[in-house]
């Protein structure tokens, strides 16, 4: 029998709906769903979203590592042994020897449970891959406007008169969002793209500010310099709703466009023109992604963009806003659920005694750990040093996603216990002591929070393969085996209900409501009869005094700068037809055949100098490793820059130097040399 079930795309953070078409319970394809934020439209990954579900590589039984490789064991045995080992390690080394990687690929309920397990075991060592994408956003926005999330909705985009798209290539990372961006352009909006590469988004731009990787602050400060000098700022907004403008004036004073040109490589005239266009538009939106955040100055980069929007009064009104675009389907939710080492659900600081006691009370314990835990890169370092002994990884593949691959492998091999819960045997799972087979998106229920804070229900369409189970079921079993209080959830709705108690922003977002309202609800939603909040900061900012903080920042160069040995700057990017560590997308024949292999973009000038032909094999070498791929000679990158999609393991090259505040690694800038291998 053919059936259509409402699905929620498992790929990026856009939050697209579609129908999953099933025949006798088996997924056979997708069909546009008339509605949702995507208005029925889909990108190639969305179109291919059921392809990996029945792939023969799916994990179907729990696995245990033995001297002869993996053997299948029963769920009871696996959970019992993992629980015993976790408790034993805690007993021997203390709770902070345990670490947990939660997942932006899993539901709110699942992220909620994993961080709850960590905290009830006595540690705040819980984090997830937002650390590698938007940790800078979380820190930067929390300090400036008080809420670490997209301030407006997608529907604000067509109402804007200028879009400043910074370090972000929606044409490839969120193709469906381009729908809204092109609609803005139809309505006469100017589009300014800031990117070291000439991306497909630049095709649609009025201005392209092609800056040198890692020089974002110099550029943003120069734009603010012009806006202040020309008195184009929103005086009323600054006076009534912000603090710190005077300090900004002092800091940006020296960042003349001419000074910034020397640092960024962007012509002073163009900087001036972009600044004037942005400030005089009247309604503007600033969008950014990994090109801005993955730097040692990531948090400062975000603050600079927030300042830029604030001085123009582009926050809290129709057609304005700060738009950090989320890369995974539940980055926002995983952050909201506190798969972060310093907060409880709803961004309640672990150091806040009153809030901590309240969460403890709901969870049925006296108190919870009050010392902020370790972030992902810090847990990896602690494992390498032998301080972290056990790591429980749910739905992440750090060997491919984290910088400096060799270091990650060394760290994981050093653990006494590595548990990986996933849908495929990833590169990381191959190193695990235990592998637990999880259900994929279409095989379970729960809520997911898309980029615009929209919480949507994920309906179940098919059964999981073999003995695979939804992550929340696995975590409930584990919680019980660990003897943790109140882990008797009988269905996922029990957990959703508990979230509404713990996270203030989610109070009115019940499972019943989400099942009824397929379009979902945007948080904050303080009560069940509240319609949700499409726009933040309308009257006051989420700061203690309600005013936004304008926080000036100074430009600092990236951690590595080119020298004689490593003359090129290496940067990484994403492509439209593959997704992150390839686990899902490369198991779709349609995607795999079109986006088949790694390559490196190199400018025609550099290629000529080195005698490299288009399509020829080259080796890229950094201080951390080497990587072989084909050369793609293109004018899309400037001289001196090498750009690689990171999906095929290019993180063996990238730098793990951290932003001191956000602890995000500088994945976007490393220095490298290029060696010609020859042959195609």
């Amino acid at each position: 029998m053919e059936e259509f079930k409402i699905g929620l795309c498992p790929y990026c953070g856009m939050g697209c709906r579609f129908y999953i078409k099933t025949l006798n319970g088996q997924p056979i394809g997708i069909e546009p769903y008339p509605g949702g934020v995507n208005e029925g439209k889909l990108c190639p990954k969305g179109v291919a979203a059921v392809d990996f579900l029945r792939h023969e590589d799916r994990l179907k039984k729990p696995l245990k590592r033995t001297e002869n490789g993996f053997v299948e064991i029963s769920w009871e045995q696996a959970i019992k042994e993992i629980a015993e080992k976790l408790l034993e390690i805690r007993e021997k080394y203390g709770p902070d020897a345990l670490g947990f990687f939660s997942s932006a690929r899993c539901s709110n309920e699942e992220n909620y449970l994993l961080q709850k397990i960590a905290r009830l075991l006595g540690t705040n060592n819980v984090d997830h891959c937002a650390r590698l994408c938007h940790a800078s956003t979380v820190v930067g926005l929390a300090q400036t406007v008080g809420a670490a999330a997209q301030s407006g909705s997608y529907t604000d985009i067509p109402k804007a008169k200028v879009l400043l798209i910074w370090g972000y290539n929606p044409s490839e990372t969120h193709p469906v969002l381009m729908r809204y961006i092109l609609r803005a352009r139809d309505n006469g909006a100017k589009i300014i793209v800031v990117d070291p590469r000439k991306t497909r988004t630049v095709w649609f731009a009025d201005m392209h500010l092609q800056l040198k990787p890692g020089t974002d602050i110099a550029l943003a400060n120069a734009m603010m310099h012009v806006i202040i000098e020309e008195r184009l700022y929103d005086r009323e907004f600054i006076m009534n709703r912000t603090k710190g403008f005077e300090k900004l004036i002092a800091v940006v004073q020296k960042y003349t466009p001419e000074y910034a040109e020397k640092i960024t490589g962007v012509p002073a005239k163009l900087i001036r023109e972009a600044a004037i266009t942005f400030a005089t538009a009247g309604r503007g939106i600033v969008m950014w992604a990994m090109g801005l955040t993955q730097h040692v100055t990531g948090a400062a980069n975000v603050k600079a963009l927030a300042d830029l929007a604030l001085i123009c009064g582009y926050v809290g009104r129709e057609g304005t806003g700060l738009f950090p675009m989320r890369g995974q389907n539940n980055v926002q939710g995983a952050c909201d659920m506190a798969a972060l080492p310093n907060v409880f659900p709803g961004y309640q600081k672990v150091t806040d005694d009153e809030k901590r006691k309240r969460v403890a009370e709901i969870w049925g314990v006296e108190d919870l750990p009050s010392k902020p835990g370790l972030t992902i890169p810090e847990m990896i370092d602690a494992a390498a040093k032998g301080e972290l002994k056990a790591l429980y990884i749910m739905g992440e593949n750090p060997i491919v996603s984290d910088p400096n691959t060799e270091h990650v492998i060394e760290a994981l091999k050093n653990l006494e216990l590595l548990v990986v819960q996933d849908i495929f045997l990833t590169e990381t799972a191959e190193l695990a002591h235990y592998v637990l087979p999880a259900a994929a998106y279409a095989e379970k229920e729960g809520s997911f929070t898309a980029s615009e804070r929209r919480v949507q229900w994920n309906f179940k369409a098919i059964e999981p393969p073999g003995e695979a189970k939804p992550d929340w079921v696995i975590l409930t079993m584990l919680g019980k085996a660990l003897g943790l209080p109140k882990f008797d959830y009988s269905d996922v709705e029990d957990i959703t209900r508990e979230i509404t108690l713990v996270a203030p922003q989610y109070r009115g977002i019940t499972s019943e409501r989400l099942k009824r309202e397929v379009m979902g609800v945007q948080w904050p939603c303080p009560s069940e009869d509240h319609p949700g909040t499409p726009r933040l900061h309308v009257e006051r900012f989420a700061t203690p005094d309600g005013k936004a903080n304008i926080i000036p920042v100074e430009f600092k160069p990236p951690a590595e700068e080119p020298d004689e040995e490593y003359p090129f700057i290496l940067t990484t990017f994403r492509i439209v037809g593959q997704y992150h560590t390839l686990t899902m997308s490369n198991r779709s024949e349609s995607l795999k055949k079109r986006w088949s292999s790694p390559y490196a973009q190199i400018s025609p000038e550099d290629a000529k100098k080195m005698g490299i032909q288009d399509g020829e094999m080259i080796r890229i070498v950094t201080r951390r490793g080497s990587y072989t791929c084909r050369a793609a000679v293109t004018e899309d990158v400037p001289e001196g820059v090498i750009a690689v999609p990171w999906h095929w393991g290019a993180n063996i090259l990238t730098n793990d130097a951290l932003d001191p505040e956000a602890k995000i690694p500088e994945l976007k800038v490393a220095v490298c040399r290029v060696e010609k291998i020859g042959g195609c």
């Binding site: 394809g29 439209k41 190639p44 179109v47 291919a48 193709p175 729908r179 092109l182």
Partner: protein
């Protein structure tokens, strides 16, 4: 008037959702996205008004169906590829299994159920639209008129401000 498939080159982001969708629907993709510097061209059968493929087909395998789509009747096709040779876009291709000419049929099965061709249904930026030309142009004209009104209001406001 019947609906047609329109391609707006100024909106294609080269994401190839149409290609993947077409392949899912038909097993082979009848649409191909060609990427160039600054622009991409998604190309498929244009279902021309004066379709040379229909004219040239010696077995009359190619005909126009009730919605105006140019389609091939497999049982009549002899695989001579005259259609490919005369097509201004070189659209009909060889089906690797049947060894016959195959091409876009505007998702005949979907149209029967009142649904749009899948490439147009999924295209995220409306670079591919399945619509009635007159209605489409009317919508476009109306949007342009709204822009004129907006510009006019702005001009009046500016005058008032300086006046």
């Amino acid at each position: 008037m019947e609906k047609k498939l329109f391609i707006n080159l100024g909106r294609c982001i080269a994401c190839r959702a149409c290609e993947v969708a077409c392949e899912k629907e038909h097993g082979i993709s009848f649409i191909t996205v060609y990427e160039f510097r600054d622009i991409a061209v998604p190309l498929n059968c244009r279902h021309c008004e004066k379709a040379p493929c229909i004219e040239v087909c010696p077995t009359k395998a190619i005909y126009r169906d009730e919605d105006g789509a140019v389609v091939i009747d497999e049982s009549k096709c002899i695989g001579c590829y005259m259609c490919s040779a005369v097509c201004p876009y070189a659209i009909p291709i060889v089906d690797p299994i049947k060894e016959l000419a195959v091409k876009c049929d505007l998702c005949a099965e979907r149209r029967k159920e009142g649904r749009d061709p899948l490439c147009a249904a999924v295209c995220p930026t409306d670079a591919i639209i399945y619509a009635d030309l007159n209605e489409l142009m009317e919508e476009k004209r109306r949007r342009k008129a709204e822009r004129i009104v907006e510009a006019q209001r702005k001009a009046v406001e500016t005058l008032a401000y300086f006046g």
